[in-house]
Every structure is written in C-alpha cells, then in structure tokens.
C-alpha cells in the first residue's frame, strides 16, 4: 500500500488526467460544431452537399485515429510547418484537438442523423407547408427535436472521445498514457497497481458522463 501511495507522490497523476479532460472538452465542442454542419449537409436537398457529407463521414470514420494524429505532427507540423500557437507545447495540444475533432465529427454527424430519423416526416412537411425553406425548417423544427433524440448516441461519442484522447500521446501531448508508460518504465515492479490507477481514473471520468447523458436523454426526450 505504501508503494502504491508513493506512486502518487512521485508522479503527477491528476495533472496528466487534466490534460485528457482539456483535450476532451475542446475536441467535444469543435467536433459537435463540425458534426452538426455535416449532418445538415447530409440531410440537405442539395446533392453535392449530401455527397460531401457522406464522403467526409466515410473517409474519417474509417481512418484510424492514430494515423490522423500522427499526420498532424509528422505531416502538418513536421513537413508543412503548420503552427497553430506561438507557444511550443500549446501548438501540439491544438494540433491534437484538431485531429480529435476531425475524427469525432464523423461520429457526431451520424449520431445527429440518427436523431433526425426520430423526427416524424410530418414535422418536415408541416414546416414546408407554413412556408419555411430548408435552413429555417432545419433550425427551428428539425434540429431541436433531432438533438433531443440524439442525446444518448452523442453521449456515447463523448465517452469514446474521452478515452480516445489518450491517442494524443502520438502527437507529442503529454497526457495520462504518457505518464503510464513512464511509470511502467521506471516502476516495473508495480505494473498492476499502475494499470489499475489509470483504468480507475478513466472510470471516474466516464461514469458521470454516462449517468448524465442517460438522465438528459430521458428528460429531454420528445414524448410522442
């Protein structure tokens, strides 16, 4: 037990998890915005936008996240000299957030689209009948109902995003999986406690997210 506690004294475990929370927070916001726009494209009446939305989702949903994050650092920064922040470390954080957002936007798009499918066709027809064109109809009638129906799948995407934020280690962001590697490298005698610490850490972060989305999805559900 003493050696277990000494791990916390020697290594900044909460600090490492804080980086994962930051990554998750910003990537959640950006991927939601991007995903919502993509969903709008996919349900729009314009064929080229539908095509673009579908192409985006199929490309990024089927590309491994590690590849996207590694491209951010090796390709964008290493070869093309893309710099998103003056501060050296912040630059990597932003590149990783960008990679996470681009990847998860595809899943957010599909989650919102599943929400759109819960909205009865009559709603869209009624919106057209009172003279709303596509964008106002989507904004005032379809999306508000669709998002309420999409809370549970969006929660699942958020949970996946939380755990996927560990992949940011490939983009030179020092977060919990880096710390875990470091701890195993230097305290190989405590491998199992180290694994338990990190598994528990993610359970502690993710369980409230799960409870919250379940509660929200019930509370916000449109009763039909």
């Amino acid at each position: 037990m003493d050696s277990f506690l000494s791990l916390f004294a020697e290594y900044d475990v909460p600090g490492a998890f804080w980086v994962n929370i930051q990554l998750t927070f910003w990537a959640a916001i950006w991927s939601f915005l991007l995903g919502a726009i993509l969903a709008l494209m996919r349900i729009s009446p314009i064929a080229s936008l539908q095509w673009f939305g579908a192409a985006y989702v199929n490309i990024f949903r089927n590309t491994p996240l590690t590849v996207i994050i590694a491209f951010g650092i090796l390709g964008l920064w290493g070869q093309l000299n893309v710099i998103l922040a003056e501060d050296f470390d912040l630059n990597f954080l932003r590149l990783a957030i960008m990679g996470l957002s681009i990847y998860h936007a595809a899943f957010v798009c599909e989650a919102i689209r599943s929400g759109v499918n819960t909205v009865p066709l009559g709603q869209a027809e009624a919106a057209r009948a009172i003279g709303l064109s596509f964008l106002p109809a989507a904004r005032l009638i379809i999306f508000p109902q669709a998002l309420r129906g999409a809370v549970a799948p969006l929660g699942n995407v958020l949970i996946a995003l939380t755990k996927n934020s560990t992949v940011a280690f490939a983009g030179s962001v020092v977060e919990s999986s880096n710390l875990m590697k470091e701890m195993i490298e230097f305290r190989g005698d405590l491998v199992i406690p180290i694994f338990l610490i990190f598994a528990m850490g993610f359970v502690i972060i993710v369980v409230p997210v799960g409870l919250l989305t379940t509660w929200l999805s019930k509370k916000l559900a449109v009763s039909r």
Binding site: D89, F169, S172, V174
Partner: protein, 284 residues
C-alpha cells in the same frame, strides 16, 4: 436470402478456422517453454528489441544488432546453437513481465540495471555502459552538449524522462517533443523541425548508421549519464555466473569490440572508452 445464408456460413467457418489457428500457435509456444524450463533443454528464449537498429532489429526475420550479437555469443557459451535460440520481442514496458511470467529466459534489450528493477528481476553483466547523448544534423556545429540546447527543439520517446532530464539537470530551456518511437524523431529531424534527438549514445549511433540516414546525422559524443546495460534474468536465476563468464570471455577475445564496430558503422561513433568495456558485477 439463400445467398446471404451461405455467405454467413462461410464467414463463420472462416472465423472458426482463424481462431483455431491461434489456438494451435499458443499450444506450440507453451510446449517449447516447458522444454526449456525443465530440462535446461533444447531451446532458449531471448527477449530483444525488434525496432532498434544497431541494437535489436527485425529485418524480415533476420535479427541484427549489438544486443543480438552479445546474446548469440552468450547463448553459444551456455551451449545453445544459433538455431536453438527463439527470439521474442521485449518492448521496454514489458520486460519485467516477460521475465516474471517465464515467457523468456533472458533479456538483452538496452536494459539498464537499476535498484527498482532489481526488486523484481535479476541482472547479469553489465555488458555495455551507455550514456545519454545527442543526435544532431551532420552539419550542426552549434549543439555541443545539453547546455547548448536552449530554445532548440529536442525529441525523445514518450514515457522516457531523458528529455525532461536535460531541462531539469542542465538548466537548458529546450522545447520538448515526444514521439512514439525514435524513427518518428529522426523523420522530424530530417524535415528540419527538430534540432536534436536524445537517448543513450549507442541507440543514437544505431539510428545514424541506418542505411536511409547514413551521413545525415552525427552523435555529439559528449555523454552525460551512465546506463549499465545488463542481461535481465528471472528472479533467482542460476545462470548469472555463467553469463558473466561468457561476457568476460567475449570482451577478452575481441568479439565484443568487433560487434560494436560492425553495428555502428557509418555513424562516426566511438564508444566511451573510459567506462567500456565494463567488468561484470558480482552475481547476487
């Protein structure tokens, strides 16, 4: 409908076969383990790195590098011919586990002897004393040691503290980049975004000696730490004495120096002659 059913059946059959193949492989592995464990037997399982050129490197089933050469020599002294050696990949984070579960009999994988590690495993050797050093572009004259790294971009592997140590112990203010492997670091340095890569000198020499990198990079040659590479053994192993004798013999015969020279050719590297070749420690 009918077609789908056939397709599903075919997929199920394929899956079953694949799984069965996995099972077969495992059985074979266990049998081999018992043989070597009980009888001191026919094969020896040696853990090495598969991804470190110049030390332990898997070139399509051929294993090359200094660790591999020392391992072969020691195995021969212990009575195992080269084809009786079973090479097992031993990534840094996995080394203690491989030894304590008996999946390997010994490990030659840039394994530094430390007191924490001695709690769970035994060590023979050291067979090499490495030191932390810097790899820079061949035409770089500015970087001469850790103190000259302020405002330079420094790359190391995620989970190692070698880069952080430069800022903490030498007061340099280098920008740290962490990558999953040294290959990525070297690729970034080739692209010009990284000024230096840091880890043990012999690892750097191995990277610089790779065919694709030959002539592009150089090891600074100003090591600032001491890492004693030992042979990892399961706790309570009885082979320690014999391995130490083999290492001493390898050094005396000159095969040790030959192995280093051969594996770092083209890197413009000379090992730290003050500390090398080392004398193996007393066995515990």
């Amino acid at each position: 409908m009918r077609k789908t059913r056939y397709a599903a059946a075919a997929m199920a059959a394929a899956a079953a076969l694949t799984l069965a193949a996995c099972g077969g492989g495992d059985d074979g592995g266990e049998a081999g383990g018992e043989a070597s464990g009980e009888a001191g037997g026919d094969t020896v399982r040696i853990g090495i790195k598969f991804d470190q050129p110049g030390l332990g490197f898997d070139e399509g089933g051929e294993y090359t590098g200094f660790d591999v050469d020392v391992a072969k020599y020691v195995a021969a002294e212990l009575g195992f011919e080269e084809d009786a050696i079973e090479w097992v990949e031993a990534p840094s984070a996995n080394r203690e586990n491989l030894l304590s579960t008996g999946e390997v009999d010994m490990i030659f994988a840039t394994y530094s002897i430390t007191d924490e590690r001695k709690e769970t495993v035994d060590f023979a050797g050291p067979y090499f004393v490495a030191g932390q050093d810097l790899l820079v572009r061949a035409d770089d004259e500015e970087i001469t040691g850790p103190e000259s790294l302020t405002d330079k971009n420094l790359c190391s592997v995620a989970g190692s503290t070698s880069a952080a140590r430069i800022n903490e112990e030498f007061g340099a203010e280098a920008n740290l980049v962490e990558q999953p492997g040294y290959a990525e670091c070297v690729s970034l340095m080739g692209g010009g975004q990284i000024d230096a890569v840091t880890t043990d000198d012999i690892i750097l020499a191995g990277l610089a000696a790779q065919e694709a990198n030959a002539g592009q990079f150089k090891v600074v040659g100003n090591p600032f730490s001491e890492e004693n590479y030992g042979v990892g053994l399961p706790k309570g192993s009885e082979d320690c004495e014999a391995i130490n004798e083999a290492i001493t013999k390898m050094i005396e015969e000159g095969a040790w120096e030959e192995a280093i020279t051969a594996n770092t050719e083209g890197a413009d590297y000379t090992f730290n002659a003050e500390l090398n070749p080392p004398t193996p420690d007393e066995c515990a």
